[in-house]
């Protein structure tokens, strides 16, 4: 091949040039603001309730209660990155928990139960994915339907009863998934492992990159050769499997299955993702943000109560944090909107109006 003006080169890969990115940019900590907010919040808790927040037990209980929520938020981060939505994971919490309890009690194998919980979640997810990507129904709509359906199925199968799983307490599966290792609850370690895995999938794996491009603009994703149908089916399947795992963690730490155990998870898990800074428009998502978002959401309840504010205020505060965080992320995240905002709020605009008033 001949060398030409516009720079066709003989070999596509020529000599090495120095990476032009400045060091500080390359090692920029992902979602620093949310991490700052997290530590400020802990500071606030310590200031107002030192007797609680300067001791280990409260943190220990956070490390037990937060992991199921965190696993959900991590999965949702991928869904949001692709510009999709999944509202059916609470149904998976209900269904997979039942599958686990059933296998444990009636088939005598909690390990089979774990497998069934994850596989059941994956199946629900795969069906969601099929309806969204192959049939073409918006995910926010169809997952409402599948959520009702699978919650109903779980209720029918379980007869609306709860299952006591106390005899699991001595089994190795309980030690592995809700025991302690060096004083740290193992579910926290599992959640951390999932977080690391999801971070690598989103930021370093082909699949994650495909999700980001799909969320950015599906048409672009298509013309650059991404199979948007297959990748979205995979996405929903993975989300379902993670919800199944989350349900398993929840059930084994309670040693009990309740048909209502998915309630309250929907908004909390979504709040964690958006507080963390993932774009509400898709195409940009942060796993570190969702990680700290889940910690913040998971700690708000206990934190607010411990600091002496009446428990009634919890939802007010969660709502405020959510709205402020999402507005800030959206405005700060796009310079164009920031400029618009400044123009709208601009001082000289107001002054001009004042002058007019003065003239009158």
């Amino acid at each position: 091949m001949s060398e030409t003006k516009a720079g066709y080169t003989d070999s596509p890969r020529v000599a090495v040039t120095a990476d032009a990115t400045p060091l500080w940019r390359r090692f920029k900590l992902e979602s620093l603001p949310i991490i700052v907010v997290f530590f400020v919040l802990i500071g606030v808790y310590i200031t107002f309730a030192p007797s609680v927040f300067l001791r280990w037990p409260i943190y220990n209980s956070f490390l037990i209660t937060i992991p199921p929520l965190m696993v959900l938020s991590l999965g949702l981060t991928l869904v949001i990155a692709a510009g999709e939505m999944d509202l059916s994971f609470p149904a998976v919490i209900t269904l997979s928990g039942f599958l686990f309890a059933y296998c444990t009690l009636h088939l005598g194998s909690p390990w089979l139960g774990l497998l069934a919980a994850i596989a059941g979640g994956a199946l629900v997810g795969a069906i969601n994915g099929f309806l969204v990507a192959v049939i073409g129904i918006p995910s926010i709509i169809i997952t409402i339907g599948t959520s009702f359906f699978w919650t109903g199925v779980a209720t029918v199968l379980s007869g609306g009863m709860s299952y006591a799983l106390q005899n699991l307490a001595e089994k190795p599966i309980a030690a592995i998934f809700s025991g302690t290792l060096f004083g740290i609850p193992t579910e926290a370690l599992w959640a951390l492992a999932v977080a690391v895995g999801i971070w690598f999938i989103l930021n370093r794996h082909r699949f994650g990159e495909h999700l980001l491009f799909i969320g950015d603009a599906r048409e672009v994703a298509r013309v650059v050769g991404i199979n948007t149908t297959r990748e979205r089916v995979k996405l929903f399947t993975l989300m379902g499997a993670l919800a199944g795992f989350s349900s398993f963690l929840l059930t084994i730490q309670n040693l009990n299955y309740f048909a209502t155990q998915g309630q309250g998870m929907l908004l909390s898990a979504l709040a964690a993702v958006f507080i963390g800074g993932s774009s509400v428009f898709g195409g940009a998502a942060t796993v570190v943000g969702s990680f700290f978002g889940a910690l913040i959401i998971g700690m708000l309840n206990a934190g607010i109560v411990a600091t002496g504010v009446a428990g009634f205020w919890v939802e007010v505060i969660v709502g405020l944090v959510f709205v402020i965080a999402v507005v800030l992320h959206t405005v700060l995240g796009s310079p164009g909107r920031m400029k618009q905002l400044r123009a709208r709020l601009s001082l000289d605009g107001m002054l001009r109006r004042d002058k007019n008033h003065a003239r009158w």
Binding site: A6, G7, T9, T17, D19, A20, H205, V223, G225
Partner: protein, 266 residues
């Protein structure tokens, strides 16, 4: 990169279509398209909005599956059931779309390689390598030196011309034999238009082929070896600019449009 041995053998046409049809439900977007593009030919594609230009190039590059017809690449028949964008990439076809080539929120190191990332066998991307090559393309091939654009810049920060440059730089890097440009000069400043036109010329000089969709007749008349006029999903004229002046071409197209209006009134 994708230079398989079999690809370098002699061939007459880089791409040839026989009775290619594309339908969306009942709507026939393309009917019985016959075309052949030589290995070192710049072919301009002109026609009104909705004439089927974009659909045609999407069918040729595997984005839209043709409903019927046959496709030959380097004179060899292509299995249309297995034809896809990745397949077209592997055959060294590159497309530069007017707006939809790049992911807005993604850094350039992703945009250069998306769809054919440099990965290990588990699918994990070699970010360092992709960054390095992206910076190299930016500096050496595109001359984006000292303008504050590097591999980590997101597309949303770039101007229209810079975006087009990135898409073209990507096509150059992957060493395409057929480059398809879908209105690459729309909404560009004059200086940037010249860069794009220079690039199209360089494709010819490098011995490659191009399909060039353009609304500006002066540009396409000056650059193309051959002009295909598309109207309502059919190729209605095959013109050599050497045989027809720009003036005559314009008159021809206007007359054609008038006759169509008469037809639709009747």
């Amino acid at each position: 990169m994708f230079r398989g041995k079999d690809m370098d053998k002699n061939y007459k046409h880089i791409i040839r279509a026989e009775r290619l049809c594309v339908s969306f439900g009942k709507v026939r977007a393309l009917s019985d398209i016959d075309l052949a593009i030589g290995r070192n030919e710049i072919v301009g594609l002109i026609g009104d909005n909705g004439a089927g230009k974009s659909t045609l190039i999407k069918a040729l590059t595997g984005v839209i599956p043709p409903t019927s017809g046959r496709l030959f690449i380097r004179d060899e028949a292509v299995d249309l059931h297995n034809y896809s964008v990745s397949r077209a990439h592997a055959l060294r076809f590159e497309t530069v779309y007017q707006e939809k080539s790049l992911g807005e929120k993604q850094p350039l190191w992703r945009n250069f390689f998306v769809g054919r990332q440099i990965t290990n066998r588990f699918g994990f991307i070699n970010v360092r390598e992709q960054r390095r090559i992206a910076n190299e393309i930016l500096q050496r091939q595109l001359g984006f030196r000292g303008v504050g654009i590097d591999a980590d810049s997101t597309v949303s920060k770039l101007s229209g011309g810079e975006r087009q440059g990135i898409a073209i730089g990507r096509a150059m890097y992957f060493d395409a034999d057929l480059i398809i440009l879908d209105e690459p000069t729309t909404a560009l400043a004059i200086k940037e238009v010249r860069k794009v036109l220079d690039f199209v010329r360089s494709i010819k000089e490098a011995g490659r082929a191009a399909i060039y969709i353009e609304h500006n007749l002066a540009h396409v008349h000056a650059l193309a070896d051959r002009l295909l006029v598309l109207d309502r999903g059919r190729i209605v004229a095959d013109i050599r600019p050497a045989d027809m002046s720009l003036q005559d071409l314009t008159t021809f197209l206007i007359e054609q449009q008038q006759s169509r209006e008469v037809e639709s009134v009747a």
